[in-house]
């Protein structure tokens, strides 16, 4: 028996308002509330230097979260962003310090390594039909191991590459506006976010991102080569992670092979807080940025209020659950 789906008109308007923009608004409001709250609680919070510190702390996690957003919108998940970031940093270290090649080559190598690993993950997921969780879990471990092997388990320092630390710590903006010494790492984050946001909304790749997450089978039955596009999306995400690796390495002026594990979860947390659906099909880069900022503000504010670090983690975890619960409640209403 067929049942005709009827959509009543009054709820239609409400549903339109409710979708998409709402969660982003909610996240943004939370961010503003947090900022106001911490400012009242501590006079040291709303200082330019502290604001810049928060942005600086957001940069790497933000870039990784942007990459994770792409994959999550397709309905997948990427657990390898943390160790891939380290792997790319190590590759940069090998090219610049061990081989002594010029800076641009190191940058290209790091981003290229990221893109290649993304291509591998994408191939596992699309061609070999391995669930994204498993495929990227495998990649996460492979890359963790490879970073240690390649580096000989020792950090690689960039002391011989003058200017490498400027990638993250220099401030082009500060050169022009001395009052606003925003570090380049932050600038890179906003550039990456801006470009990715544009790709998502204006290009065929972005449109397929949402379409795959919305209904992969319908896309395949529309005659689209879904495997190829999925691989492209994972590769793009990988190259963004490569940029994240460079920013990280530059900030530490070294590639730390043991670092990286755990970053993927923070990135995913930022994406989720930003309102991107883990079931795919919807999400925004702006939301992800706000999510990453919320996490950085929380950590920073709690530290200023002298809350023990152990408790900071507890708070972050609670925020994630609250954010997703808010999303669920919203969706049930819609």
């Amino acid at each position: 028996m067929t049942v005709v789906n009827s959509t009543s008109t009054p709820s239609l308007f409400a549903r339109l308002i409710d979708t998409g923009a709402h969660q982003k608004l909610l996240a943004f409001a939370s961010l503003v509330l947090l900022l106001i709250g911490f400012s009242i609680a501590s006079p040291n919070f709303m200082q330019t230097s502290n604001m810049i510190a928060i942005l600086q702390a957001t940069s790497v996690n933000g870039i990784l979260a942007v990459a994770a957003t792409l994959v999550i919108i397709t309905g997948g998940i990427d657990l390898s962003v943390g160790t891939l970031m380290t792997f790319c940093a190590v590759i940069a270290g090998v090219v610049l310090t061990n081989l002594g090649l010029p800076l641009p080559l190191g940058v290209i190598a790091a981003i290229g390594a990221g893109a290649f690993c993304g291509l591998c993950s994408g191939t596992f997921v699309s061609k070999m039909k391995i669930p994204p969780f498993i495929a990227t879990l495998g990649m996460m471990l492979i890359l963790k191991g490879l970073s240690l092997v390649i580096s000989g388990t020792r950090p690689i320092y960039f002391n011989d590459t003058p200017g490498f630390d400027l990638i993250s710590l220099g401030s082009i903006i500060g050169d022009f506006f001395p009052a606003l010494p925003i570090p380049n790492g932050v600038l890179i984050l906003f550039l990456v976010a801006g470009i990715t946001s544009w790709i998502l909304s204006r290009t065929i790749l972005g449109r397929y991102c949402f379409a795959l997450g919305s209904n992969e089978e319908a896309v395949r039955l529309s005659g689209v080569n879904t495997d190829r596009w999925k691989i492209a999306i994972y590769s793009l995400a990988g190259s963004i992670v490569g940029i994240g690796g460079l920013v990280m390495a530059s900030r530490l002026n070294s590639a730390q092979p043991a670092l990286g594990l755990g970053y993927e979860l923070e990135a995913i947390a930022a994406v989720v807080i930003g309102g991107t659906s883990l079931s795919g099909g919807r999400g925004t880069i702006v939301g992800t940025l706000i999510g990453a900022l919320i996490m950085a503000v929380l950590t920073n504010g709690l530290r200023i209020l002298s809350v023990a670090q152990e408790w900071q983690t507890v708070v972050t975890g609670s925020i994630i659950i609250l954010a997703v619960y808010a999303d669920m409640v919203r969706r049930k209403k819609a």
């Binding site: 028996m1 067929t2 049942v3 005709v4 789906n5 009827s6 959509t7 239609l12 549903r15 339109l16 979708t19 204006r202 290009t203 065929i204 790749l205 972005g206 449109r207 397929y208 949402f210 379409a211 919305s214 209904n215 089978e217 319908a218 896309v219 395949r220 039955l221 529309s222 005659g223 689209v224 080569n225 099909g281 919807r282």
Partner: protein, 508 residues
């Protein structure tokens, strides 16, 4: 003697559909009562009312002579009514006994499961069915027929006196059907009443005592199975008059064959299917549920693999191994399940119309030209009269008919010459139906080759220039369209089962 079940004047409405109109039905103990009707006649809805899944909107229901109100599947279960759905709902990784007693596991102290009692109780039920089955077998390793026995055992474990079986033989071979019938006869002898929903005429003669026929949500009549000719039952099923204007069949003797399919084969589902469609022709595909029509369409489109068979488009052989190949060859497929296979429902009308042709809207670098997409979408919204507030509306908020038009627009823009419509009007109300019909006729007139798969005979008869009929994976015949072909002719071919003694692939 009181009836086991007696339903009187049952009414059920869904938004836009009057699904059950004053339907009556009776079942005695020890009786197999077949319920027949075309797809959409209301059989399943009636059974869902009886099993408490749908509340009835009107009428009376008596169980063992007492009037009852069902407020859910649980209360129907408590009254001894068990239903075995067409799609089995067993947990494949659990054992037979664990499946039967799921949710009611015998326990020991401290919440421990009493596995021994579980298996013992399962064996007791099997013995009552005279069935030899190890309760510790993992369900996933059993044949479909055996799994069905497990479902029956599960229903009996609730002390069911009424068993509803919805197309129980759909997935069974002849030997398995015989096995099932043995069990049914044994239950019958024990006084269990069985409601048997099936499309297969020969089975009714074997197993049913009485047959009740439904059509368009209404009760048509009840007859004795033994002394009623099959032709009478068929005419009661399809008796509705085709009120619509007869099809005008164009002269296509000169037309080029756009799509030629020969020897299409995959396992039992598709057996050596050969046909062609001409430019400007609408070829209807009739058959009962599970006849293999959708499978044929998906195999042609490359959505599912095929074992053998050649597909020629414009006379040239095409190697189609994935949907992208089919689209390149100019074949579009509109699935019966729009929500799962046709639309990205969370996206807007504009993106959905462009979905199969995004490459045409993007520069070499992949930047989308949004304004062109908008113009194209608005063009099709106008041409196909898609009712939507704007091209930015999410398609999930559109009605079924308008969603279907969005899918059609997607394929039209892709310039597909060959369009396969699978149940094009499923879930669409009457008014929108005739709009879709008009559209299909127009598309054919413009020189496309159209295949329409439909389970509604009036729809097939109203549209088709020729009618291909399938039964159990075989193409049992191609009939001319128009008035010379009757619904009885089609039903005859649609129920023409292969003689079981013949090897597969025996010539028609």
């Amino acid at each position: 003697m009181t009836n086991l079940v007696s339903m009187k004047g049952i009414e059920k409405r869904f938004p836009g559909v009057h699904a059950l109109k004053n339907v009556s039905f009776e079942l005695n103990g020890g009786e197999v009562h077949a319920l027949m009707g075309e797809n959409g006649a209301g059989k399943s809805t009636l059974m869902k009312v009886l099993s408490g899944i749908y509340p009835k909107d009107g009428g009376e229901l008596f169980i063992n002579g007492t009037e009852v109100e069902l407020d859910g599947p649980r209360s129907s279960q408590d009254l001894g009514i068990g239903i075995i759905h067409q799609e089995l709902s067993l947990m494949n990784d659990l054992t037979v006994a664990q499946n039967i007693f799921i949710g009611r596991e015998p326990r020991l102290r401290f919440g421990r499961l009493d596995e021994a009692a579980l298996n013992r109780k399962a064996v007791e039920i099997f013995q009552s069915m005279n069935l030899d089955l190890d309760p510790k077998t993992i369900v996933g390793t059993l044949t479909i027929a055996k799994q069905q026995m497990v479902e029956i055992a599960k229903a009996l474990s609730y002390r069911s006196r009424v068993l509803i079986m919805d197309e129980p033989t759909a997935a069974l071979n002849d030997a398995e059907i015989a096995e099932l019938f043995t069990i049914i006869r044994r239950l019958k002898a024990d006084g269990v009443g069985i409601i048997y929903i099936s499309h297969k005429m020969d089975e009714l003669k074997q197993i049913a005592d009485r047959v009740t026929i439904m059509r368009d949500g209404a009760y048509i009549g009840t007859v004795e199975a033994a002394d009623t000719p099959v032709s009478k039952i068929i005419s009661m099923m399809v008796g509705r008059e085709v009120t619509n204007d007869p099809v005008v069949i164009p002269d296509l003797s000169e037309a080029e064959a756009l799509l030629e399919v020969s020897g299409l084969t995959r396992g039992r589902e598709i057996q050596d299917v050969t046909f062609s469609v001409k430019k400007g022709e609408i070829l209807g595909f009739a058959g009962l549920m599970g006849a293999g029509r959708t499978e044929v369409a998906r195999a042609i489109f490359g959505a599912d693999p095929r074992e053998a068979g050649e597909i020629r488009v414009h006379g040239k052989a095409c190697s189609i191994s994935k949907p992208a190949d089919a689209v390149k060859a100019g074949i579009g497929y509109l699935s019966e399940d729009r929500k799962h296979f046709g639309l990205a429902t969370g996206m807007d009308v504009r993106s959905n119309i462009a979905l199969a042709s995004l490459d045409r809207f993007s520069s070499r670098l992949g930047v989308l030209r949004e304004s062109e997409m908008r113009d194209t979408a608005q063009d099709y919204i106008g041409k196909l009269e898609i009712r939507t507030p704007s091209d930015r509306q999410e398609v999930r908020l559109l009605s079924g008919g308008n969603q279907q038009k969005v899918v059609i627009a997607k394929w039209l823009y892709r310039d597909c010459d060959i369009l396969i419509f699978d149940e094009p009007t499923r879930g669409i109300d009457v008014g929108a139906k005739s709009e879709i019909y008009k559209l299909l006729k127009k598309l054919a007139k413009e020189g496309r080759a159209i295949i329409v798969i439909s389970s509604e005979l009036p729809e097939i008869m109203r549209l088709s220039h020729r009618i291909a009929v399938m039964c159990e994976g075989r193409l049992t015949g191609i009939l001319p369209g128009g008035e010379e072909t009757t619904q009885e002719d089609i039903m005859h071919l649609a129920t023409l089962r292969a003689p079981s003694m013949q090897p597969e692939g025996y010539p028609q």
